[in-house]
Symmetry: D2
Subunit: 337 residues, 4 copies
Amino acid sequence: MIIIMKHGASQDNVEAVVKAITAKGLQAHLSQGDQVTIIGAVGDKTRLMHDNLELIPGVDKILSVTETYKLANKKFHPQDSTIRVGDTPIGPGHLAVMAGPCAIEDEEMIMETAQAVKAAGASFLRGGAYKPRTSPYAFQGLEEEGLRYIRRAGDATGLKVVCEVTSLRALETAVRYVDMLQVGARNMQNFELLKEIGRSRIPVLLKRGLSATIDEWLNAAEYIIAEGSPDVVLCERGIRTFEKATRNTLDLSAVPVIRQKSHLPVIVDPSHATGVRDYIGPMAKASIAAGADGLMVEVHPCPSCALSDGPQSLTFEQFDALCGELRPYAALAGRAF
Amino acid sequence: MIIIMKHGASQDNVEAVVKAITAKGLQAHLSQGDQVTIIGAVGDKTRLMHDNLELIPGVDKILSVTETYKLANKKFHPQDSTIRVGDTPIGPGHLAVMAGPCAIEDEEMIMETAQAVKAAGASFLRGGAYKPRTSPYAFQGLEEEGLRYIRRAGDATGLKVVCEVTSLRALETAVRYVDMLQVGARNMQNFELLKEIGRSRIPVLLKRGLSATIDEWLNAAEYIIAEGSPDVVLCERGIRTFEKATRNTLDLSAVPVIRQKSHLPVIVDPSHATGVRDYIGPMAKASIAAGADGLMVEVHPCPSCALSDGPQSLTFEQFDALCGELRPYAALAGRAF
Amino acid sequence: MIIIMKHGASQDNVEAVVKAITAKGLQAHLSQGDQVTIIGAVGDKTRLMHDNLELIPGVDKILSVTETYKLANKKFHPQDSTIRVGDTPIGPGHLAVMAGPCAIEDEEMIMETAQAVKAAGASFLRGGAYKPRTSPYAFQGLEEEGLRYIRRAGDATGLKVVCEVTSLRALETAVRYVDMLQVGARNMQNFELLKEIGRSRIPVLLKRGLSATIDEWLNAAEYIIAEGSPDVVLCERGIRTFEKATRNTLDLSAVPVIRQKSHLPVIVDPSHATGVRDYIGPMAKASIAAGADGLMVEVHPCPSCALSDGPQSLTFEQFDALCGELRPYAALAGRAF
Amino acid sequence: MIIIMKHGASQDNVEAVVKAITAKGLQAHLSQGDQVTIIGAVGDKTRLMHDNLELIPGVDKILSVTETYKLANKKFHPQDSTIRVGDTPIGPGHLAVMAGPCAIEDEEMIMETAQAVKAAGASFLRGGAYKPRTSPYAFQGLEEEGLRYIRRAGDATGLKVVCEVTSLRALETAVRYVDMLQVGARNMQNFELLKEIGRSRIPVLLKRGLSATIDEWLNAAEYIIAEGSPDVVLCERGIRTFEKATRNTLDLSAVPVIRQKSHLPVIVDPSHATGVRDYIGPMAKASIAAGADGLMVEVHPCPSCALSDGPQSLTFEQFDALCGELRPYAALAGRAF
């Protein structure tokens, strides 16, 4: 931790900071420049957590040097993790492709989709049973009924099932049906939900919040891991910016950034990120080239009849063609697909 | 609803759209230009909700002309609402000042703060019992114990008590203690929580999400009102932008925008928005001048000992001085304070 | 300057950094923690400018502690400046109101506008002769002819004339006509233009760039002042964010931030910031309450016939009414208007 | 053009709009719904440019349906363009790699860099002679001397030379030395410069502005093409967002968006976008996979001695290794490299 004193801070001010630091058993190292004095606090900085050094007169600002997340941090876990969902690995050497409709609409459509995406090469079946929607008047999902349908589709095809949970109640139900829980962008900092998910010990797909920094995202993962569940996969799905040509702005650089800061796998969702069908293929290829461990893609038997997100869904034929185009990129990246 | 056809869409494409619209009992109005054909759909557009016109070949994009929120919409409720929390009004002619610590730390500090902010002129006591924190290792709040303390402080002073709830569980407990519930920025689109709060019928302070558009914010209010609770007060608390000189960027224009689009009261939280004590006074005055119905300000008996957000908290003396400075602005704006 | 070493940097790495610092005659202060070593460089850091310490193996990042702007910095010039444009002051105790059309369209309209805004209380006449427009096919301004018209209108009314210059050529011409030059948002980092303006010694109104940080804005001011012209007035005009309810997002907190970091006057342009006529009044009042030294407002004899920005222009009657409403706010803020 | 009337607009209001449209020889098509009336204006909308329909009482908003750029628009030029810089093509089937230092520092370093990047496979040599810098006290470039050096290096190696121009004066000089002009992010809307560049008829690399929308970017290209120079190549180099883990946020989706909206080639600069050497390789591969027509990469003989942007520069060895890694991606994308 570094304390930067204001231009013109008095010697008394500096001493007050030094005293506050040493009182907690840490060491204080002084750098006194002509314009600015800097104090480095060395030792266990959690002891200073309640001291608000920022409010000691003469203090300009405090800079934190170390990240607040530990379990998700590559510094303390230098080897990239492979997360296993049943016998299906997500991590180095593999390309995990998750596909399915935005929302589960009925049993037939999810079963049909499962068969199609399985045939094309996906290993995970996605589908929403609890849909967070901007307007209260939009379709909100089939809830437990939907979970039953997708479980059957997963069992029939051998695909692993991944579903979003949007509340503690949804979680209680979902744990009986799914192989992997999903936390959506809007709930990335729903900390009560994260903690309870961590206690469930079920693998989690943690989507990045609409305007979450990578640091906040890794702290959200830390909430889950700290409760006992180490199996967290991150999913970049676009951030909110001024640009409106795409639904969100896919921050693909997040892939190498995560790779450098964390050992957790990271996948990309080009469907939600771009919101436009024609952009999904190029961004899916780019994701693999950037080092992503997998992809999440929306597929629907009849996009023009979809209850939500039709414009960004691929047909079965389009998804099959996409998988064909992705294979040489996966091979180039050294990933089995 | 307006359907814009692609440059080069065929007459067949146009007819397919017209047919889809008229099949649902709406009227289709055509404007055929040299470059572009536009089709207006007139009638009850909810009937078209599942039709995904966007996917009919030749369709370029769909523009929605009417807002999806109705109950929060000024068009259908032209008079500005006054929300009553017990006998305390929030709305035209009043300036509701809510003050208190970021977190309730112990009984003495919240009681002491209640007395000080009451004396200075506040009518609401704020204080967090459930604290959403970026890191799982930071102080998370006293939970029910904290609610007991703040209830006692409210009763002792006559201040109305407003507390944030971060989960359905916290809500179940909080309804027994508070006069007004608060939904924080991170939970603005925690739709399950919004619905349950709506069912509680307790007045709600709904903070704007970090990167929520005003349209999404009003839709979040709609979730609450649609469940039966009309008493929603909006709170602007800054949005996330590239600028780092302040903690967030206070979007003060949101006040006149909300005033034009909705009948709900809107207050401003300059403490969280700026994150810097010196900026709170100027932005509090500006909020009143812009037409805000109230303010939420962080006050702490000893900011330098605060467990959270100390740097942006005012001391009792500073808050008292601020209230003195605000009074002529409230008078000028025609608001009792 | 603070150098933070990577977790696991070797003692050799640390010594290499220390050596690089001391080789240039600065002192290096070490803080060696368990996880991280920090090195403070004390002395004239410009000597290190070409050393790229960031690239010495083991270095994680470099933090700059002092601002790069000096002449615009309040630390070295603690008293707020008053800029004089002829005999008209901009600074503490005064509210400078600048009004006029977006673009000068003909001689009559600018003369008529000058008389109206003068009568209402403005002391500056604004009007664009060189219009930067997104599309090359939109009206680009009357250029020198426009400058002649606005000069005559200024002379006839005693209003000071402020006009935007968009290139070195425009500058050469404009210096013969205007009392104050304006640098628009798109040219805030057109450094060649800034330098040449600085050499002209004419007072400047420097608008903030669409996505410029406050730090970059003050550095742009530094470019001008460093060339010899100390008379720079800053103008906040909204930044670009995800919110589309307003044309830009007025960052009104920039007013107290600038007040703390710089001695230069700062005014606000609520017309360009919001882009909506109904929001100009509330935000103009808020600007005064926040501490602004002035306002820039678009006024047009017939907004519905304006060649640009009509929707955000006030009529003469509206501007006169606005000035009436602003007066008590100016009085409250201790500013003559 | 679509005119949306306010809820409650009178029949008179509607007629006034219709009259304004038909008065200019366009047709007006009405869609009158229960809540909203919509009027489509069909015909040459430039005739309405000065009418400000938005200000007719009862008008809520105007939506523009067609883009303002024509020459850069794929609608009117469906085939992707290949731009030729001398005999070197940029466009379908080719991967144009531009490499070199941020700034030209002396003759030896640019010559040495030219030889190294040529050997590795680049076909363009980049290097700054005019450097736009945030602070006036930072190194600003060697100007004409630098241009002389890079020209010699280009001639010696057969590489095409691309240099940024930051003002009309720099342009006058640069046209005598370079094969391709570069417009930097800060000057993307320096319209005077764009027009003059268009008159030069020299091929241009047009970087996207820090917070420019794709629509504004294509309009900037239109400024150049409209003056007579059709040879414009776009360069995505990151946009400004809240995320600080990278210098900017590389908006890689811009590549497929541009591909859909324009026929102009588009390349990517991963060096400026990420600002971190370790992220350049992954994002360069991703750019090719996303469909980019080329790359711009910073290379320096000794990044730790660079006068600017050292931390994001590759050494000769790193650049050579990168080119080796990129080759199979170029092959997969069907591009000669």
